[in-house]
């Protein structure tokens, strides 16, 4: 099977690629160091969420903390945290900007970020700082698929070693 064969049209109308059961959507950018996706929602705003592999890595999310609306963040800032199976992980911003919205539904039901990582489980929206409309370190399109394939391969090898 070629890479193109795996491209299909997702529920939101975006092209999606299935990598060994983990989906990557091609309508957005991905930030490999944080495993977050970044989606341009217009007006200089970007929506941010966990990619499907990160969601799988956590398993069922029991706790989630997000930053307050209005907070200014920079790349590398810890802006929240997640907890699953007693494992607490940081949520690190890939962007320069101001938090303009947080997803109330995912705060109420953190596991939504795992069940619907690309849709209802989005985490927050930021208004990018002027001059920072290009998000550093992100990949999109074919580069995103190539990165995702290597990340999924590494993940599966480790999981297989556990068995």
């Amino acid at each position: 099977m070629t890479e193109t064969d795996r491209i299909s049209r997702g529920s939101g109308g975006a092209d999606v690629v299935d990598v060994r059961g983990y989906v990557v959507r091609l309508d957005r950018e991905y930030h490999p160091p944080t495993h977050l996706w970044v989606l341009d929602v217009g007006g200089g705003h970007r929506r941010v969420g966990l990619d499907a592999l990160s969601a799988e890595t956590y398993g069922r999310l029991a706790q989630l903390v997000l930053p307050p609306v209005g907070r200014r963040v920079e790349p590398g800032d810890e802006v929240g945290s997640l907890e699953a199976a007693k494992f607490v992980g940081p949520l690190v911003s890939p962007l320069h900007g101001i938090v303009r919205a947080v997803n109330a539904a995912v705060l109420e039901d953190p596991d939504l970020a795992v069940r619907e990582p690309y849709d209802g489980g989005w985490l927050l929206e930021l208004e990018l700082d002027p001059g920072h409309d290009r998000v550093p370190g992100t990949v999109a399109g074919d580069r995103a698929v190539a990165w995702y394939e290597s990340a999924v391969a590494a993940h599966c090898e480790i999981d297989e070693a556990d068995r």
């Binding site: 907890e83 199976a85 007693k86 494992f87």
Partner: protein
């Protein structure tokens, strides 16, 4: 593998020492196995937990410090009969599913207990148990670039104080105390023999030779930072958490007490091993002995007001399924 023994320290240092090691961890660093024992009793909250879960007034009366850690789990009472261990390694070295990684990193601690003749197992709920009773409290987290798994050897356990530090009212407090006595146990082995066994098992796990060490300069710098942070009242207070219709107290994974309050009504339900064991208060139907999944469906169908209790049952079961 580096081994660090911080000895017997203040309550604050029994937390800040290993936070410093994790925070200073760099990609490519060897794993670290560390030990510390608190000189004094205190209460420690998991990173995301609501400080209102702790009876702060009682703790203050008793002179018990309340601290918060940057790893998961609930509020716990700790004292000098508990020996803490931490396994810390670079985040990049920990992949796969977090629950699987946690189990993988806890396995040598179980082997160490077995080496000492304690028939411990890592059970299907992800707990270290002997005969169904939890013998090791554990949690895990990522602090900067370091991932750390923490646990303890409980050589003696004060069930009464461990329950009393929680902000509970009757009949929940008595219920939790009874369950703690049944489901949390101590392991009175020699602490030095246990440390030796731990070092051997973790060295084998990582395939390295252990080397006893002291904190590096960068770790000492981090230690100062974590002494400040973990002692900061604002950090300990944490973020306000939404009030929920159901308060759930986890005694060990698989054993919960759910307390539901609404419009002057109160129902307390104990669930153990997937079955409703006891109900205090009035429900539309007797759920005692009913599978918790079926109980959740019955409650949700019977009364809209009871939907949050049904939801709490389902959430707790989903946590077990994910373990």
């Amino acid at each position: 593998m580096r081994t660090l023994d911080f000895g017997t320290t203040s309550a604050l240092r029994s937390q800040s020492s290993w936070h410093a090691v994790a925070a200073a961890m760099r990609p490519g660093d060897p794993p670290v196995l560390s030990f510390v024992r608190p000189a004094e009793p205190y209460v420690c909250l998991g990173y995301h937990r609501d400080i209102a879960e702790v009876d702060g007034d009682w703790c203050q009366e008793q002179g018990l410090p309340v601290l918060r850690r940057k790893v998961g789990g609930g509020p716990v009472y700790l004292d000098d009969r508990q020996y803490f261990f931490q396994v810390t390694l670079p985040a990049a070295a920990v992949g796969g599913h977090r629950a699987a990684a946690l189990a993988r990193l806890l396995a040598p601690s179980v082997a160490a207990l077995r080496r000492l003749g304690v028939p411990a197992v890592l059970d299907g709920y992800g707990e270290v148990t002997v005969g169904g009773a939890k013998v090791c409290g554990h949690g895990a987290g990522q602090v900067r670039e370091g991932v750390t798994v923490v646990g303890n050897l409980i050589t003696g356990f004060d069930h009464e104080r461990a329950t009393r530090v929680l902000a509970l009212e009757e009949p929940v407090r008595s219920e939790v105390l009874a369950l703690m006595r049944s489901y949390v146990a101590s392991t009175p082995v020699d602490a030095e023999a246990w440390k030796d066994a731990m070092v051997r098992e973790y060295a084998t796990h990582f395939g390295t030779t252990p080397s006893h060490d002291a904190l590096r300069e960068d770790e000492l710098a981090r230690l100062e930072r974590y002494d400040e942070l973990l002692g900061d009242p604002e950090f300990v207070a944490g973020q306000p958490r939404p009030r929920r219709a159901v308060r759930t107290v986890k005694v060990r994974a698989g054993v919960w007490v759910h307390e539901w309050r609404h419009a002057g009504r109160q129902v307390v339900v104990t669930v153990a091993d997937g079955v409703v064991r006891r109900v205090i208060g009035e429900l539309p139907t007797d759920l005692t002995g009913v599978d918790v999944g079926a109980a959740a469906r019955m409650l949700a169908a019977a009364d809209d007001d009871l939907a949050p209790l049904a939801g709490a049952f389902s959430s707790a079961q989903a946590e077990v399924a994910a373990a």
